[in-house]
């Protein structure tokens, strides 16, 4: 059954019954680009641009920044998992920009990933994004009433970036401020639905590693070990090709 026909049938079902219907695709939505590729770095007159090619098209991922930048660039000598949505905007550095792009560096070496391009007239990087104030960073990840925090991770990674350490630090601060009786840490592993239809599942141990790491840090930040419960879900989260990066996470729930 074609994707278009599937969508039509689903819309009809919603129209006639009023019920929510899950639309089944054999691939992620058409405007998503979830793929693994060698990254490409292109020099410019200012900051270098990061690009990746998928099915003969070049996509713009982001530009070099600093450790406090929102975008953490890929690495040559490593493949990268790209997850993003095609933006209907002008090309940047020769590539189609992706919105809400998430980058996960694959840890194994691939020396074929070694493309460094020189600067070209007309292929310019955008202005450097303004640095985000620390206060804003602290708010990142805060959910609901500020008692649950979500710590996102790159695919197959338990590395905490400058941003995500701030989230963990803030959760510990809140837990102390409300004199929490319990802090519930829950680790998850996820699946990414690649644009070619393949399902790409995180390592079996990653949810446990993430949860234990965050639990250890919370105790290290002064929370009572007995008050910190650390659990993880071994089964990978289901994928939809859109929100998959959000499911690679640890939640920290503060119970007053």
């Amino acid at each position: 059954m074609s994707t278009a026909l599937t969508i039509l049938m689903a819309l009809a079902a919603v129209f006639f019954t009023g019920a929510t219907t899950v639309v089944q695709h054999d691939k992620p939505p058409a405007n998503r680009r979830n793929f693994i590729a060698c990254p490409i770095v292109r020099d410019t007159k200012t900051m270098p641009c990061w690009l990746a090619e998928y099915e003969g098209e070049l996509y713009y991922l982001g530009q070099q920044g600093s450790s406090s930048s929102e975008f953490y660039p890929p690495q040559l000598n490593h493949e990268v998992l790209v997850e993003g949505t095609v933006a209907n905007e002008a090309r940047i550095c020769g590539g189609i920009p992706l919105k809400s792009v998430r980058i996960s560096v694959r840890q194994e070496l691939n020396r074929a990933c070694n493309t460094l391009l020189p600067a070209e007239d007309g292929l310019d990087a955008p202005p450097a994004p303004a640095r985000r104030p620390v206060e804003q960073l602290r708010q990142q990840g805060a959910e609901t009433d500020g008692r649950e925090f979500i710590v996102p991770f790159d695919f197959d990674s338990d590395y905490l970036t400058l941003h995500t350490t701030r989230i963990v630090g803030e959760s510990a601060r809140v837990a102390k401020a409300v004199n929490a009786s319990r802090i519930e840490v829950m680790g998850y592993r996820a699946t990414t639905w690649l644009s070619n239809g393949q399902k790409f599942i995180e390592a079996a141990s990653i949810a446990e590693r993430r949860a234990k790491k965050i639990g250890g840090i919370l105790v290290g930040l002064g929370l009572l070990p007995a008050a910190v419960s650390v659990k993880w879900k071994s089964e990978p989260e289901p994928c939809d090709g859109v929100t998959d990066p959000e499911k690679r996470r640890v939640t920290i729930k503060i119970v007053p």
């Binding site: 270098p48 953490y72 660039p73 000598n77 490593h78 630090g169 840090i217």
Partner: protein, 520 residues
């Protein structure tokens, strides 16, 4: 008349000859005093005497200044200057004021010559290539005499902070052992107490308020909590040692007493207190240059000289053009605008230093495949400058814990010969990483190295070859450079970076960088 005239002529000749000889002697003395190593500047442990509040010691580039902010130090009975262990070494033995509180190869060679190898600095335990070698032979101390390297024997597998053996992510094999110590049945990897011996330079015991300055609660290099001082619970800087194995000055002093002085009785709390107090008040920087003249004069660069070190602010991230790492050199940028009393050579030298500062701060190149720089979210490569990594104001260390694999110890970028050489002096280890452990980000799971560096402490594959970057002050007084003493002089240091990162520095840029580094 003729006789009188001839007598007068003779007197004239004698006077002229005497003046000439006097001048010649003055020139010789000035030359020797100014720019050759001074054997007498070596301080022996237990010798006593007073260490003045301010001192200037000559070196090949000019003079290094030492400032004791607490005033003159009586060395007699002071635990930094007294032998405390089994061997007759004191802390001062390897941390000489004349060598910017480290020790230079020139000074060590001179010491060998003067004492015929009997100086305690050559103690078998770590002042020789291998304690089992005949100690009277110069060749048994070649790494110390040629590269300023002391043996550092580290237990393998490593212990955690509580002394518990931890399971490393990689195995180590000794694949070349020129000194014989790593395959020795007593001292080696297969001995009763398995030990890996690496060879490293001693770091300057000075300017420590910068070196010890802690960063954030989190360690940006690992994404985990920063290590803490076990006594205070407060985060520590982790930039003291090449492998960051000791976190505090107290731990370092106890470790040095045990490992370098072969102390067995333990240091008293009073001794520890005195050692730490001395270390925290001593500042070092080059104070004058043989070409550029005084480095500490009114309206000159504000970051030079030991007083500037004592007065500077700590923990300032300075990879910017507003207030750069070694402050501003604007007053040295234009030779025409400099004071008239300076010679043309002095002006040109100062302008060269100012250009060198600009190269250090702003000359961009591709920083590539450096673990704990490129691998922590910045991207690989990044288009940046030297000051990206050497970013702390006044010392040029890293604001975060500064262990990086810049490539000095790991094959193929290591500083040793790129192809087999029977003259190679350093050991070669083969590290094989566990299949499930995160690999070294740029070398994979099998790494050949002269020194696994930080990984000998953490047991992590990702840390193999990572060395904590050292401070930049008093460089002219303490050659050679890099943790493995591979750069004999500042030009060789610059050349390594030029090759490693394909910087394509011009000859002028190299000279400017060299001059810049020599005045720090």
């Amino acid at each position: 008349m003729k006789r009188v005239r001839s007598q007068r002529n003779l007197i004239r000749l004698v006077v002229i000859a005497a003046i000439g000889l006097g001048l010649f002697a003055m020139i010789l003395r000035r030359g020797a005093a100014s720019y050759s190593p001074q054997p007498l500047s070596w301080i022996e442990a237990g010798a006593g005497g007073t260490l003045p509040a301010e001192m200037n010691f000559e070196n090949l580039s000019g003079k290094v200044g030492i400032l004791n902010t607490s005033g003159p130090i009586e060395m007699k009975g002071h635990p930094f200057f007294e032998p405390l262990g089994v061997n007759p070494r004191g802390c001062v033995t390897c941390h000489q004021p004349a060598n910017a509180m480290s020790v230079s190869v020139d000074a060590l060679r001179e010491r060998w010559r003067v004492t015929k190898g009997e100086d305690p600095v050559f103690a078998a335990v770590d002042g020789s290539n291998n304690p089992m070698l005949p100690q009277a032979l110069e060749s048994s101390h070649s790494l110390l005499l040629n590269r300023g390297l002391f043996r550092v024997g580290l237990q393998w597998p490593p212990r955690d902070r509580n002394g518990k053996v931890s399971q490393p992510e990689f195995t180590i094999e000794v694949v070349r052992d020129p000194t014989g110590v790593n395959l020795d049945s007593t001292y080696g990897l297969k001995g009763v107490n398995p030990t890996v011996s690496v060879f490293r330079r001693p770091r300057p015991v000075a300017n420590l308020k910068y070196v010890m300055s802690p960063d954030d609660v989190f360690n940006i290099k690992t994404g985990t909590l920063m290590a803490t001082d076990p006594e205070t619970g407060q985060p520590v800087g982790m930039n003291l040692m090449a492998d960051s194995r000791h976190l505090t000055l107290k731990q370092q002093a106890i470790g040095a007493y045990r490992d370098h002085q072969e102390g067995r009785q333990g240091l008293s709390s009073e001794s520890l207190q005195k050692i730490i107090a001395f270390e925290n008040q001593v500042y070092v920087a080059q104070s004058s240059d043989k070409w550029g003249g005084s480095l500490v004069e009114p309206n000159g660069p504000i970051g030079l000289g030991p007083r500037a070190m004592a007065d500077g602010k700590i923990h300032v991230l300075a990879n910017n053009n507003r207030d750069p790492v070694f402050r501003l050199f604007d007053s040295w940028k234009k030779p025409d605008a400099m004071p008239q009393e300076l010679t043309a050579a002095q002006r040109e030298f100062r302008a060269s230093v100012a250009r060198g500062n600009d190269v250090f701060m702003f000359r961009q190149f591709w920083i590539r495949d450096v673990t704990h720089i490129n691998s922590i979210g910045l991207g690989n490569p990044i288009k940046r400058s030297c000051s990206t990594c050497h970013n702390v104001q006044m010392t040029g260390q890293d604001l975060a814990p500064g262990w990086v694999d810049v490539g000095t110890t790991n094959y193929p970028t290591w500083t040793e010969p790129p192809v087999f050489s029977d003259k190679a002096e350093l050991p070669v280890f083969k590290c094989t990483c566990d299949k499930v452990a995160p690999p070294h980000p740029y070398l994979g799971r099998v790494i050949y190295t002269n020194d696994p560096g930080r990984a000998l402490i953490t047991g992590k594959c990702v840390d193999i070859g990572s060395i904590v970057m050292g401070q930049f002050r008093g460089l002219a007084a303490r050659a050679p450079y890099f943790s493995n003493g591979s750069a004999k002089n500042l030009r060789e240091l610059v050349d390594f970076y030029d090759r490693r990162f394909d910087m394509k520095l011009t000859e002028q840029e190299k000279q400017d960088l060299e001059n810049f580094l020599s005045v720090l």
